[in-house]
Symmetry: C2
Subunit: 267 residues, 2 copies
């Protein structure tokens, strides 16, 4: 696949898999901004984090995603999809890498567990301006007008201005309709640049017994926000704003270096 | 399992699986510092990143790891192991969570892909002082004396001083013997507190054809270090030092917020 002059090449992927409505919505939106290549997992990969496939080979197959929109399904993880798209399909770097639209939130600590965000992180590691989009409506038949609207505006901005080296965007869109008039209080109020809220999941494992009398456990949990700040993604979303968190993959806690230099390691 | 007074409770996990020599070595070392609970994956989970198991239930089984050392094998990922250990085995938080000793490096960008490090990140999210240990000798029969020596010293320091909120340690040990005398140039020279090097993998997919004439791809790649700094983990390891990088799970690129506030999102 060759890049055309004056038309950006946009790689679209996700973690809900090649058949997800959010992927089709994002690909169709990106077609308004450039040429689109879709490479997505052949099965749902939610919660896959930054997993890569080391011990198995990958399959790659061309499929039709919608009328006039071809793409590739890959047997690997979201991160595998980005890697194989660059090496085997695009044979180079696209101008933009977008992931989503995820069916469910990736705000605060969810960024760590999210396959959607890991695909965008991988794009950024490759030096590609990258954005992950997530929508806070989990239903398969959700109205995607609002996330499509903001995906277009945000992707346009990123194509125009680029992103700073080593950073990418985590975009979450609240489950509200687009603003129709200024007196409409139950619609999206705009966009806020935020930091990742200090929140976590409190897990409980649901213990059951199978027909062979062996125990098994389902992961369940409650989301707990410990962060009172009004500059966080959780605050923005709960107040009707689209949240944008700039994310980095340098995980160094630079502020902790002086503390550790006081440790004694010689005995 | 109950915590004993005056004796720390240490959770040991890994990503190479319950049978890995590195896990046994780490568990035996930690037994010198406190009471040990081992909960590790029942199969190798390298490259699993921060994956969690959402769509399948988990199994948990008690096994004997070495003489007098019992543990639990879990059918999930390294992150699942930490979560289920807290909720179903310890019924609370241990005083320390250690992961490894990984057979292979987790320096620089590998921290993102590593199941070993993700288990330690999960421990830190839970508020537990956490450390991931990795040894740069990939061989199954590697002499683990040096990583055991440093795991004990570093874990002792962490038990004594704690770690700053929201941080954990990524420890890598070079494939060199312990220093016997000061004139020995080919042994470990000491410990350095470092930042994560700016390095990445340049992937190539090896294309093959299966007996049914269908293509498949193996992920391969070369490690490229773009970072000339002498304060990085890659520099320390290549100069004979144990590297310790403080890691954080707040991924916000705070420095990018002013740049993004210049974007226009209203059209």
């Amino acid at each position: 696949m060759k890049k055309k002059k004056n038309k950006p090449l946009i790689l679209v992927t996700n973690d809900d898999g090649i058949t997800a409505p959010g992927l089709r919505a994002l690909a169709e939106t990106m077609q308004q901004l450039g040429d689109v290549v879709v490479v997505a997992p052949d099965s749902p990969q939610s919660g896959m984090g930054h997993a890569i496939t080391l011990n198995n080979p990958l399959r790659l197959e061309e499929v039709e995603i919608a009328e006039g929109l071809k793409g590739f399904q890959c047997s690997g993880t979201p991160v595998d999809c980005v890697k194989i798209a660059i090496d085997r399909i695009i044979h180079g770097k696209p101008d933009l890498c977008v992931s989503g639209i995820n069916h469910g939130s990736n705000s605060s600590i969810n960024v760590i567990y999210s396959g959607t965000m890991s695909a965008a992180v991988e794009g950024a590691i490759e030096g590609i301006p990258s954005v992950g989009f997530s929508f806070l409506d989990y239903s398969y038949n959700a109205n995607l007008a609002a996330p499509k609207h903001y995906a277009k505006i945000i992707a346009s901005n990123v194509l125009r201005h680029g992103l700073q080296q080593g950073t990418l965007l985590n975009v979450n869109i609240p489950a509200l309709p687009l603003l129709k008039n200024n007196s409409d209080k139950n619609s999206i109020r705009g966009v806020k640049i935020c930091r990742q809220a200090n929140a976590k999941w409190e897990e409980e494992f649901d213990e059951r017994v199978d027909p062979n009398h062996r125990k098994y456990y389902w992961l369940t949990g409650k989301f707990k926000n410990y962060d009172k700040g009004e500059d966080t993604d959780v605050w923005a979303l709960s107040h009707g704003y689209v949240s944008i968190v700039p994310v980095q993959f340098d995980l160094t806690a630079h502020h902790a270096i002086p503390f550790l230099n006081k440790f004694r390691f010689d005995s």
